[in-house]
């Protein structure tokens, strides 16, 4: 058995961490020789040391009184005077720099923007068209989705269809709003070189016409018929494809614009 050294016994007496205490304790439990040695160390260290005399309260204050006279006070630091000349100069310089930076920045921004727009008006126009079209297609997509849900959800067991009249009304109102815009876009793009967009807008216009011009109270049978005859599912798919394509075009045009400005 390996006994604890004197140093280890002393270390164990003062040990703060549980791990080293446990290791030594385990040995001390099984080794009489080390336990006796440890007992001896403990007895030695338990020998009473003289207690310091207790002072009356205010000992520190008395101590200070006894030593303070030869000590000079630290020189008081001058208070910062905010309106002293050097500070005013610094503040003025900061203000001038700030104004100069602002004016310079505005001028630089203007000088960069104007040539870009002047140099590439086609790009700017295309960005606007794409933005407006995206909004129009987004609203149309939502209308087609609503149309599809209304026809699908309201199917009753006997095969007849009962559309919610409130929902039908809102669908019609939305179709009436979209119709003139759609016509405008279709006519504007008819002469262009985007047959897919033209065809989709054409198809969409017919659906919108059908929904908008139905009898005042559009019923479920009407919606189901429109869905079937006008192939709105296909139209919905086409609209989604166009929106995705628009989105990528927008990114492209944006990067081109940035490139032009740099």
């Amino acid at each position: 058995m390996k006994h604890l050294t004197e140093e280890q016994l002393v270390e164990h007496y003062f040990a703060d961490d549980a791990e080293s205490r446990i290791a030594a304790e385990t040995h001390l439990r099984i080794c009489r020789r080390c336990e006796q040695a440890y007992q001896e160390v403990s007895n030695v260290l338990a020998a009473p040391a003289p207690h310091p005399p207790v002072h009356m309260p205010g000992f520190g204050r008395q101590l200070w009184k006894s030593i303070q006279s030869p000590l000079p006070a630290y020189p008081a630091k001058p208070r910062p005077t905010w309106f002293s000349l050097p500070r005013l100069v610094v503040a003025g310089a900061c203000l001038v720099s700030l104004v100069a930076a602002f004016v310079g920045g505005s001028h630089w921004q203007r000088s960069r923007k104007v040539p870009m727009e002047a140099a590439n008006p086609a790009l700017a126009k295309q960005r606007v068209v794409l933005f407006i079209l995206d909004d129009h297609l987004d609203r149309s997509e939502r209308l087609l989705v609503e149309l599809s849900h209304t026809a699908g959800d309201k199917r009753v067991p006997n095969g007849s269809l009962q559309a919610d009249s409130l929902q039908a009304d809102s669908l019609q109102a939305e179709a009436r709003q979209l119709l003139p815009d759609n016509r405008l876009y279709r006519q504007a793009l008819a002469s262009g070189d985007d047959p897919m967009m033209s065809a989709t807008l054409d198809h969409l216009e017919r659906v919108l016409l059908e929904v908008a011009n139905s009898p005042d109270k559009l019923n479920a049978a009407d919606i189901a018929r429109i869905e079937r005859e006008m192939k709105t599912d296909t139209l919905l798919f086409q609209v989604r494809v166009l929106r995705a394509r628009n989105s990528s075009q927008e990114t492209k045009v944006e990067s081109l614009s940035k490139g032009a400005s740099i």
């Binding site: 004197e6 140093e7 002393v10 270390e11 007496y13 003062f14 703060d16 099984i30 080794c31 009489r32 020789r33 336990e35 006796q36 007992q39 001896e40 160390v41 007895n43 030695v44 260290l45 020998a47 009473p48 040391a49 003289p50 310091p52 005399p53 002072h55 205010g58 000992f59 520190g60 204050r61 101590l63 200070w64 009184k65 006894s66 030593i67 303070q68 000590l71 006070a73 630290y74 020189p75 008081a76 630091k77």
Partner: protein, 200 residues
């Protein structure tokens, strides 16, 4: 509201000399206790405390505001104590205690009980303890007091003495060894005799 140490130090450095009185009031007793335990002399302890607060006032401009004032002044007190111990040794101060015989068997008395035997034992313990303290070097003495009586960590002792933690640990060990050599004979015989049935 009571100001903390940092605020008081700022006040002193800003020219308010009296704010230092609050610091002395707050830490004076602690520094006296440490100094007394190291020197075991009231007059020496008072001298050390005075010197400690004088030195710390003069060096307050160098005090790092991020540090703990108590730790800082503690180190100054330990330095003052070390210097005083060295001075006393140089002066050749006559030890109060006399040399003792490690193997004196006449004073090997039982620990418990009261009465004349106990008083005799206490007297002998105190006599040998003081002798052991005087045999310690300044570093050993300070390390022993800080570790054993003040409960400071090895790292704090090392910082106070300006030595490595390993050297501080060795100083504590050597001090305990000296103390053990002086006091252990008092317990050795009765202790062994009183525990006949111990495990081996």
């Amino acid at each position: 509201m009571e100001k903390n140490d940092q605020a008081l130090i700022r006040a002193v450095l800003a020219g308010n000399k009296d704010a230092y009185g609050d610091l002395a009031e707050r830490h004076g007793e602690t520094m006296f206790r440490v100094a007394y335990r190291i020197t075991e002399s009231e007059s020496d302890a008072e001298e050390i405390v005075q010197e400690t607060f004088l030195r710390s006032y003069r060096s307050l401009g160098e005090f790092d505001a991020r540090s703990d004032f108590r730790t800082w002044i503690y180190r100054i007190a330990v330095n003052c104590a070390l210097q005083l111990l060295a001075k006393r040794k140089k002066e050749g101060a006559v030890p109060i205690t006399e040399e003792f015989d490690d193997e004196v068997s006449g004073i090997q008395l039982a620990q418990g009980g009261a009465g004349p035997e106990r008083l005799l034992l206490d007297k002998e313990i105190e006599h040998r303890r003081r002798a052991a303290m005087e045999k310690m070097t300044e570093d050993e003495r300070v390390a022993f007091v800080l570790r054993h009586l003040e409960g400071r960590s090895i790292e704090e002792i090392a910082a106070a003495l300006g030595v490595t933690p390993n050297n501080a640990k060795q100083a504590v060990f050597r001090a305990v060894q000296k103390m053990r050599r002086a006091l252990a004979p008092l317990w050795r015989a009765p202790l062994l005799g009183s525990r006949p049935g111990m495990k081996s």
